[in-house]
């Protein structure tokens, strides 16, 4: 190999990679508008981003997986702890984390700023980012449920039923809690669709229902547990 050949390797390598990269950058800009729902990028969301930067949140937390790893990822924080959960943690970190091994600083964030932060997190949570992070995925069962389903030979719905605490109140074949009704023949009374609605928000069906809404279940978990219960006839 001569020095001239080496030079051409350098030039072609650099140019080809740059062309691919810059070309895709242009296309990415076009597509990000839809993927990140730019139409919902309101002034409130942008102000929320400013607050997020003002308080240096990103040097403890990650968002979209980037930042420091000292505190939980905030991509799906609204889904995980809700707007009130965020407000409580930011206003009173000394109470919220009183028993935690790690603390969050009291930064005296103004109420309006917290509202903006919540708008920002809500917007980020809706970005179509390939279903990351896995622990917050709405489209899959947790690995614990998957294992139970495969290892114990039960249906995915039965695995959700067992691992999400349904049996603290309800029973099957005499096993389980007595606070709620036994569910051995629930499929005779309700269809899959009705069960799904009931589990998601009991009060929307029966205003006197005592059962708490199961909002933490992922869509897939809700579907599987409804399928399982709907077949108990």
């Amino acid at each position: 190999m001569t020095k001239k050949t080496a030079f051409w390797i350098f030039l072609l390598g650099t140019l080809s990679s740059s062309i691919v990269f810059l070309g895709l950058t242009v296309d990415t800009h076009r597509q990000v508008a839809a993927l990140s729902h730019v139409d919902k990028l309101s002034k409130k969301v942008i102000d929320g981003k400013r607050a997020f930067e003002k308080y240096n949140c990103n040097d403890c937390h990650t968002i979209l997986g980037f930042g420091a790893y000292y505190a939980p990822d905030l991509t799906k924080v609204v889904q995980r702890v809700g707007a009130d959960g965020i407000r409580y943690r930011v206003t009173h970190p000394e109470l919220a984390f009183a028993k935690s091994e790690r603390k969050m600083p009291q930064q005296h964030v103004a109420d309006a700023e917290i509202d903006n932060l919540i708008a920002f997190f809500t917007w980020v949570g809706e970005v179509d980012n390939g279903d990351w992070p896995p622990q917050d995925s709405k489209s899959r069962l947790t690995r614990g449920e998957q294992r139970l389903s495969v290892g114990a030979g039960v249906s995915p719905g039965a695995a959700v039923f067992q691992s999400k605490g349904c049996m603290n109140c309800h029973s099957l074949h005499g096993t389980g809690g007595k606070f709620g009704p036994p569910l051995d023949t629930i499929g005779q009374k309700l269809t899959e669709e009705q069960i799904k609605r009931y589990v998601h928000d009991p009060r929307s069906v029966n205003t006197k229902a005592l059962m708490p809404p199961q909002k933490e279940l992922s869509d897939r978990e809700l579907e599987e547990v409804a399928k399982f219960l709907g077949n108990l006839k």
């Binding site: 691919v20 895709l24 930067e53 980037f66 420091a68 091994e101 790690r102 614990g144």
Partner: protein
């Protein structure tokens, strides 16, 4: 030393070393935050976030000062003339260090841009840009007036120009978080896997040529191939940061494929370093400088090449993204590729700048091996913590703090290793600041 103006490099190196010590001290505080429960009253005043901003900015600052000092040392020898304006070199050093100190103090009082690694507030960014322009002007004018162009010089100037240009993408406020991260990586990734690699390649080539007496033609030929491969894999390889940010899906393919090739140029660097040592034309006078250079190549390969490769495949990255695995990779790669490069330059230039031609390597060896062993083990302990985190939190779906409690033991081990690392750094810095001449051995 042949040129008087090279002396300024010594100041750059000295300040860089002091900042390096400070960076490691802050690092020990950070790891303590993982091991112990810090009371709310301290967290309110000096949160983890502030210390983290210091740790990363000190890293960038000392390494850039090292590169700049290295450039001021190399350019006179490459061009065969004094630096165009030693006054400007002084001005730029003072401007940069002042900015750094103001920024560090500012962080404590919450003055920050609030974006990881780019925390330096925007008004100070202006000073950084002016400093960079002055530096480029000074180096560029030295080369222009000398009218003697070499590949090493070209690569060095190209790398520095690229480095300065990319910094600009980190300055604006981006309204869209997705676009924000998109360009954040233009600074971070294209720096460390583009611009900095060019500077590294050029500096390594220069030192190799000087120490081994291998023909310039051979060294520069390898340099072309290396930087060609670095840029080919590195530029489009930026895509491995775009998997989960809300960018189009094709980045999984582009990022995955190009970054799978990223170890190649590093491997080439290891091979050609070994090759040059074997075919050396002159007697190596300071063998320890060589040990560091080879250590740099090997660590670079493990930290950046192997560790980077291990978690850039999308299927793996889905679980390891944003975990302590990244921390493990970051520490090994930065220490291997850039801290050891800077130390190679320091050991090459600093004793000579102080009139010591052949230095006594006892303390240097002790410092080097302490640092390298401690960092290698830290890479492993961070890595174990990261794998635990990926499995417990991401795969099993455990809560964040529950998963962290299983990692605490490994963070405690890291703290102990960190103390050893600091000891190694202190020995090295002390040795560099007061080099001892070797006692002449009768031939």
């Amino acid at each position: 030393m042949e040129y008087r103006s090279q002396k300024i490099a010594n100041w750059y190196f000295t300040i860089a070393l002091l900042l390096f010590v400070l960076q490691v001290v802050v690092g020990l505080w950070l790891i303590s935050n993982y091991v112990f429960t810090i009371p709310q009253s301290i967290v309110d005043v000096f949160p983890f976030a502030t210390a983290r901003a210091m740790h990363t900015n000190l890293l960038v600052l000392w390494m850039l000062l090292g590169f700049m000092g290295g450039t001021y040392y190399i350019v006179p020898e490459e061009t065969g003339r004094e630096i165009w304006s030693p006054g400007l070199a002084w001005f730029q050093l003072i401007a940069l260090v002042t900015t750094g100190v103001v920024a560090l103090i500012g962080f404590v009082f919450g003055w920050t841009q609030g974006r990881p690694l780019l925390e330096i507030p925007r008004p100070l960014d202006v000073v950084v840009v002016i400093g960079a322009l002055v530096f480029l002007l000074n180096v560029g004018m030295t080369m222009f007036t000398a009218k003697r162009w070499t590949v090493i010089q070209g690569t060095l100037l190209g790398g520095l120009l690229f480095l300065a240009l990319l910094y600009l993408f980190g300055i604006p406020f981006y309204e869209n978080e997705v676009i924000d991260w998109y360009y954040w990586w233009w600074v971070i990734h294209l720096w460390v896997e583009g611009a900095w690699e060019l500077v590294t390649g050029a500096i390594m080539a220069f030192i190799m040529m000087r120490l081994t007496g291998v023909d310039r033609h051979v060294v520069e030929k390898w340099l072309y191939v290396e930087i060609g491969l670095f840029l080919f894999t590195g530029i489009a390889g930026t895509g491995h940061h775009y998997y989960w940010i809300g960018a189009p899906k094709y980045w999984l393919w582009v990022g995955g494929a190009f970054s799978a090739l990223e170890p190649l140029p590093i491997l080439l660097m290891v091979i050609d370093t070994m090759h040059h040592v074997r075919h050396r034309q002159t007697k190596i006078i300071n063998p320890h400088t060589w040990t560091i250079a080879i250590g740099c190549a090997v660590f670079h390969m493990i930290g950046a090449g192997v560790w980077g490769f291990a978690h850039t495949l999308p299927q793996i990255n889905y679980y390891t993204h944003g975990s302590q695995v990244t921390v493990s990779h970051g520490h090994l790669a930065f220490f291997g590729a850039y801290a050891l490069l800077n130390l190679t330059v320091f050991y090459f230039a600093m004793p000579r700048l102080r009139g010591v031609e052949i230095y006594k390597p006892t303390r240097a060896k002790l410092g080097f091996w302490t640092m390298c062993s401690a960092m290698m083990l830290m890479g492993l302990t961070f890595g174990i913590a990261g794998v635990l985190q990926s499995y417990l939190e991401r795969v099993l779906g455990m809560g964040y703090m529950t998963a962290q409690s299983y990692m605490r033991l490994w963070m405690a081990v890291t703290l102990v290793l960190g103390v050893f690392f600091l000891a190694g750094v202190l020995i090295t810095v002390f040795d560099l600041l007061s080099p001892k001449a070797a006692v002449e051995e009768p031939d």
